[in-house]
């Protein structure tokens, strides 16, 4: 899909964050040379289109004391994976949850749920809670801990003119 040039300019101007001033949208509109009304209309449309998921804050889980994260993975019956996935995604300690294709024979799991806790015991407790929710629809599961960040670069929209 192609973004309108003004929308693209909005993405570029805000992807690093909004200014923390009383009228942040007005400030962004000023730098873009558009009215605040136009900016708010465009942001609203981008949200309705799903291009903007939300406008808010991202917490640092490590700073919040949640130092252990486990990628729990589950082999859930296809017929019920979406319905159960919604329940798992709604759990307060699950930050991301996705349905993904299996890669048989190496990988039988089709539901991924990232679980955060203060330590591995807590993560294991949460894993048990998820297992209880999935019940007999789940045939197998595993948990993968991250032991090292090997690379991390944020999403950056490439500049069209650069």
């Amino acid at each position: 899909m192609t973004l309108h040039p003004t929308d693209r300019a909005i993405v570029e101007a805000t992807q690093a964050g909004l200014p923390l001033v009383p009228a942040p949208f007005e400030a962004v509109a000023d730098t873009l040379g558009i009215t605040e009304t136009e900016l708010l209309d465009r942001l609203d449309r981008l949200k309705k289109q799903g291009i903007i998921r939300r406008i808010g804050a991202a917490p640092n889980h490590y700073k919040l004391g949640l130092v252990s994260n486990g990628m729990t993975v589950w082999d859930v019956e296809n017929a019920v994976v979406d319905q159960l996935g919604e329940k798992v995604g709604a759990l307060p300690y699950v930050t991301h949850s996705y349905r993904r294709p299996r890669a048989l024979p190496e990988w039988p799991y089709n539901l991924f749920a990232m679980v955060h806790g203060q330590n591995r015991d807590e993560v294991l407790e949460k894993q048990k809670e998820i297992a209880a929710i999935l019940g007999t629809a789940c045939r197998a599961n595993d948990i993968l801990y991250s032991t090292r960040i090997l690379k991390k670069t944020g999403l950056r929209l490439r500049r069209k003119d650069g």
């Binding site: 993405v11 942040p24 991202a58 917490p59 640092n60 991301h96 890669a103 993968l144 960040i149 090997l150």
Partner: protein, 151 residues
């Protein structure tokens, strides 16, 4: 650490993960919800950012909707070749994140490319360079609610 956060901080962190109102004075509206001033909201958000508790404040774009393709990938890397393979994999600009994980599939990374075709091309290139199979786990559906700090 969570223990140093006031109740108001916790409430704000939870509230700020939800949508900011699309109005001229959004922080004033949030302040009104908590019975604090606009300035106090802004000061606290600044402080939480400065302390690294909030990493970012602003719009979150769906990268896929912006055009481009994303895919979680995994490789089972033999332990003795790990660093060599890591260098080969990370050399690709398309590799956005890469984590070592506790599993036979011990290298998990996200490919970000301009087009869907770019995912397969990059994965094939990595397979050719490393001689290892790259498993692709594209997102088929997302179940996402958010993250709450225990109040």
């Amino acid at each position: 650490m969570t223990s140093n956060l006031t109740q108001l901080d916790r409430d704000l962190i939870n509230r700020l993960q939800e949508d900011l109102p699309l109005t001229n004075r959004p922080f004033a509206e949030i302040g009104a919800e908590f019975g604090i001033s606009e300035d106090e909201v802004i000061e606290r958000v600044k402080q939480l950012k400065e302390d690294g508790i909030l990493t970012r404040f602003g719009p979150f774009f769906d990268a896929k909707e912006l055009g481009g393709a994303f895919c979680l990938c995994a490789i089972a890397v033999p332990e003795e070749r790990f660093e060599t393979v890591l260098t080969q994999v990370n050399a690709h600009a398309e590799v956005a994140h890469n984590y070592e994980r506790t599993h036979r599939l011990n290298m998990w990374f996200v490919l970000a490319t301009e087009s869907e075709a770019g995912i397969a091309e990059t994965a094939e290139t990595i397979e050719r360079e490393t001689g290892l199979k790259v498993l692709l786990f594209p997102k088929e559906r997302e179940f996402f609610i958010g993250f709450k700090v225990a109040a």
